[in-house]
Every structure is written in structure tokens, then in C-alpha cells.
């Protein structure tokens, strides 16, 4: 089961608050009916009113619950859709924040990222590649091209000094990569995000989900280790925080795997020697499609079933208010 918009579930919290007006409305109505109906039939009317209120508010709540489930974009199955794309366009989105200079991965995270990109471009010679770098903002360094020379040059010059934007915003990097695909290309699209996951701002999972919605393949490469490492300045001194403590940067595995899940993509570890081969296998499988020529598989969102259920409860709610309960009590 895949939930495309899990943040919709937050709506359940204000929904619980509906119980408050429901309770006060019942109490107010109960008192008022006592005054209007008179004591001689109050017990009977109270019973009817309680049943009506319970049915009314429970159907209202069920209506909202199923509507929220419809909003969440829950998907159980995949469906085959027509796919006439040809070839593959790949954008590398590389984090060039200072934490990528940590040397818990040899020679350092950024250097290893460059090696991985070179392996992939060499292993898939017929592809078109682009390079986006990001810190607090994202920027296209190499627009989508077949020119291997400029890719190699750009990859060799990857450094935090390429871009002055402060901070780290994974979402900005992903969004910039999304817009780096030119229109009119017949190729499938893939984004390979390389980062240690240490973001200071932005909602990367929402940005990654947009890739999934647009049918863009997504691979996340985690740079670094859970133990982490210190970052060194150009003069060899250790980067320290405002309290003078040495800054240790660690791989945020949970964040990166979460991003990969949001984009229906895959996660690989940069330090694993198998990673270039696995990414190239993924590229081959993307080019191979679903196994059926001219078709690809995509998530099938089942919002309609939930919506029908919600509307049924609304009809019950309307119908229940039309019934003359006094005939049966």
C-alpha cells in the first residue's frame, strides 16, 4: 500500500475537535427540548433526541473520515499505462554544502559523489545528463546534454565554493532538478540525489513526491556514515559551532530513505562499492520498462471508493433527519 499524501492524515486532529460542538449542541438541544416539549413527554423525547444526535454526528464524522482517506491518495495496486518514451535523461542533484567535505567516506563525500557520477555517465554512454548543485538554493551547472566532457569538468570542480547560498535545502535542490528537464524530450526522466541528508530547511519529501506524481524515476544516494566525521577548514582547523564544540556531521539515513519512499524511489549508500553497478542496473530496468513493450506501471490511486463511502454516509445523515422517529418510539 502506498500513501501519496500522508500529510492528509493530520486532518484527523481537527476532526476530533468536532466532538466538542457536537456535545454542546446536544446539551443545548436537550435542555431546550425539555422547555419546549414539557415534562410529561420529556423522557420519550430525550430518547429520540439521543438516538437522532448519535446517528447525525456519527454519520457526519464517518463522512469526514472517508473524505480524508480519499484525500490521502491511497494506492494498493499498480496499473499498466501506455509509454512511448525513448531513452533516458538523468539529472544529478548534488549537495555541495560544507558537510559534504567530511571524510568519513574516502576521499571525502563530495569526491566520492564525483566518482559515482563519472561511473554512471561512463556506464551509460547513450544517455543525456545534467548537473544541479544545491546548498540553500539550487542551480543548474550543466543543462541536460550529451557532452561528456563538460560533465566530467563540472564533476571534477564540485566544491562548496561553487555556490554562495548559505544553508542546506534539499527541497530546493530537488525542485531545481525537476525544472531542469527541457520540454519535448522523448526520454524517460530520472533524478539522482546525492546528499548526506543534513537539511536546515525545506520539505524534501513533498518535493520528492512531486517527482513520483510526474512519473520521474528517483534514486537517493546517501553520503556519509552514521558515526559521522568532523569538517575541516581549508587551513586544516576543525569547523566548530558557536560554543566552540567541533561540528560532527552524520548521515541522516531516516530522512534520505524517507525521501526515497516519498518519491517511490530507491536508496543506496555512497560508500558501498556495489552502488554504481546497482544504479546502472536500475537505469537498465527503467529503460526496459514494465516488461511489456510500450507500457509502464504506475500507482493506481483508489480515492473513488473512499469518496463513495463518504457520500453514502452523507445520504444516511440526510435520510435519518427526514425520518419521523416519534412513530417508532
Amino acid at each position: 500500500m502506498t500513501v501519496v499524501y500522508p500529510e492528509s492524515f493530520w486532518l484527523f486532529i481537527p476532526l476530533v475537535l468536532l466532538i466538542i460542538p457536537a456535545y454542546f449542541n446536544y446539551r443545548k438541544g436537550h435542555r431546550l427540548l425539555g422547555k419546549l416539549a414539557g415534562q410529561w413527554r420529556f423522557d420519550r423525547i430525550s430518547q429520540i433526541y439521543l438516538v437522532r444526535t448519535l446517528i447525525y454526528w456519527s454519520t457526519v464524522l464517518l463522512f469526514f473520515i472517508f473524505s480524508i482517506l480519499a484525500l490521502a491518495g491511497i494506492s494498493w495496486t499498480k496499473e499498466a499505462v501506455r509509454d512511448e518514451s525513448d531513452g533516458l535523461d538523468i539529472i544529478f542533484a548534488v549537495d555541495i554544502s560544507r558537510s559534504m567535505l567530511a571524510s568519513d567516506v574516502s576521499p571525502d563525500r563530495l569526491g566520492r559523489a564525483g566518482e559515482l557520477i563519472s561511473s554512471i555517465t561512463a556506464g551509460y554512454p547513450s544517455g543525456r545528463f545534467g548537473l544541479v548543485v544545491f546548498k540553500g538554493e539550487g542551480e543548474v551547472i550543466v543543462p541536460l546534454t550529451e557532452d561528456r566532457i563538460i560533465m566530467e569538468t563540472a564533476v571534477n570542480s564540485l566544491s562548496p565554493a561553487m555556490f554562495t547560498a548559505p544553508g542546506t535545502n534539499l527541497a530546493k535542490g530537488i525542485n531545481r532538478a525537476l525544472t531542469a528537464f527541457p520540454e519535448g524530450s522523448p526520454g524517460k526522466k530520472m533524478i539522482i540525489l546525492i546528499s548526506d541528508g543534513e537539511a536546515l530547511s525545506g520539505n524534501a519529501r513533498t518535493a520528492a513526491r512531486e517527482c513520483s506524481i510526474q512519473g520521474i524515476e528517483f534514486i537517493v544516494i546517501g553520503a556519509g556514515t552514521a558515526e559521522g566525521a568532523m569538517i575541516y577548514n581549508a587551513d586544516g582547523s576543525v569547523v566548530s559551532d558557536s560554543e566552540g564544540q567541533a561540528v560532527v556531521t552524520k548521515l541522516d539515513l531516516a530522512e534520505l530513505t524517507g525521501i526515497a519512499e516519498s518519491a517511490s524511489g530507491r536508496y543506496y549508500d555512497l560508500s558501498d562499492v556495489k552502488t554504481p553497478g546497482l544504479v546502472l542496473d536500475d537505469i537498465s530496468s527503467v529503460l526496459g520498462g514494465s516488461g511489456i513493450e510500450g507500457m509502464r506501471l504506475q500507482n493506481r490511486t483508489s480515492y473513488r471508493g473512499f469518496l463513495i463511502a463518504a457520500m453514502v454516509f452523507l445520504v444516511i445523515n440526510l435520510a435519518a433527519s427526514r425520518i419521523r422517529w416519534s412513530r417508532w418510539y
Partner: protein, 333 residues
Amino acid sequence: MLTFESPSYLFLLILLPVFLYLRHFSPASDRGLRISAGIWRKGTVPLKQGGVKLILLFSSVLFWVGILLLTLTLSGPSISIHEKIHLNRGADIVVVLDQSPSMAARDFPPETRLDAAKNMLNFFVSARKNDAIGLVSFGQEAVLKVPPTTDYGSFLRRLDECHIMELGEGTAIGMGLAVAVLHLSESRADQRVIILITDGDNNAGEVQPLSAASMAAQMGIRVYTIGIGAEGDIPFEFRNPETGQILSGVLKSSFDEDLLTELSEMTEGRYFKATSPGTLESVFRSIDSLETIEERVRIQVRTVPLYRIFIMAALLLILADLLIRKVLLREVL
């Protein structure tokens, strides 16, 4: 364009008037409790409910619009976007642009030669559909600014950033051509083209223009050369990017037409002379017509589902109706 994935669900809209009747107009629609008003004041009790009725009417409108949206949601509302997908490959074109100080000459009033060339390139690129276009700039040195790409937005942004004397004072035509040839060397396009735009003689760089053109010829790359600007004394003015100083004066303008002609003939290209804005435009139109490839396209329809927007709007409307009736008006029955 708004479309519906499953329009058969729209038939459910027929039920809306039925529900509307049952709720508001049927004899059984009155929800009430029979009480005697006479026991209070020995007569009828005048109740002024004009405002309440108006609010109820407004609330009902919200509710039924919400229901309408939910019913429409069942039919799968989405926006269809038609995209033109190119099935065959276009040409790979690299523009080699002179940024030497002489390109600041104002013989394309009110623009400089560089500005005029940039404007025409803008126009030229906008007319391309599927050709990968790259940009090499040269002065004393040469540099690839944009690799051949169909991302025209990136190309135009970087073209706009080109300034006079950014790469030094000289005119390294040979270096510019060599860089362009290098970056076209691995291109798999059937047509590979270089457009050289310059206004001067080769006076810098380690590669001679004819050597670079010879490499291009061997690789089957065509070179179109454009000699830009009028000859004679031309006023110029520009800001030195290193010092910030504004330099102005009169330029004795000339360029080596023989060299530009030879470069183009070696590679089966053509030489064009652009002495005015009109001729520069016609030069680009000529190149545009020379470099045409039969275009094969298919239209791909991409749909963006709108069901979430519809459901959200419907929920808000129905919730508003509920709160108005139960909280604001304190509806009991």
C-alpha cells in the same frame, strides 16, 4: 483544459435535484416539534426570522455546492496538458561568440554589436524546436559557457550574462572554434554546426583558426561565419569588468573577411557579412533555413488530477454549513 476521466459518474448529478427536493421542499422536510404557543401569551407568538432564513439559505447553498463538487470528483476531474514530443533528433549547434572590446562598437544603434548579436541569438534560439544549442565565448581566452542542450532557458540565461571583455582583450578565434569542435566531437547528431560571430582578426590563442576549421571539416562539422559590424571609424563605449572604468572612443573597425570565408568554405558552410541590424536578422534567417531537419513529433497528453482540490473545497463548504447551522444558529433538530 478540464476533462473527466470517468464521465459516466456525471449521471449521478441527476440525483442532486431529488435530494434537494427531499431536503427542502418535500412535505416531510419539516423537522419540528409540535407545541402549543397559546399557553404562553394567549395568542400567536410573532417570530421575526428573516435574518435566520437568509443565513440558512446561504448555508444550504454552501452545502449543495459542496455536494456538487463531490459528485464531480467521482468522475475524475483533471487538467489535460498537451505536450509536443520530438521523435527524431535535431542538429547540434554551437554558437561561438566574440566578446572582445571591439564588440562594444555602436554601429547597430542604439545597441552594441554584442547586444545586437545576443538579441538575434535570442530570436534564433526561440525559433529552434529540437536542436541542441551550445555557447562558446572568446576574447583572449575561450570557454564553453553552455554545452549543446535543448534546455533553451539555461542557454538564454547564460547568453544574457555575456559581457564585453569578460575573457580578456584579445580575439582568439582559433581557440573559440577549437573549444566548439571539442564539445561537438562526441555528438551523435546527424547535423553538427558551428556559428562563429566575430568582428575582428585572430590575434590571440594557441590554436590557429584554420587548424580548428580543419578539425571541424574532418569531423563533418559545418562552420557558418558571421562578420559583424561596419568598417571604418565607429564609436564605442563599455565598462571594463575588472576596473569598473568606463572606456569610450572611436574604433577603426575591420575584420579579416578572407579568413572568415576560408573557414566556412573549408567546412562546407557559408560566410555572411552583417553590417546593420536588418542584415544580421537576414543572416540568422538564412542559417535557420539552411539548417532544417524534417521534424517528427507526437502529441502526448499528460493529465494532472484535480480530485484533491475538489475534495478539499467540498469538505470546507460542507463543514462551513455544519458549523453555521449547529454552532451559529444552534440548530437542535
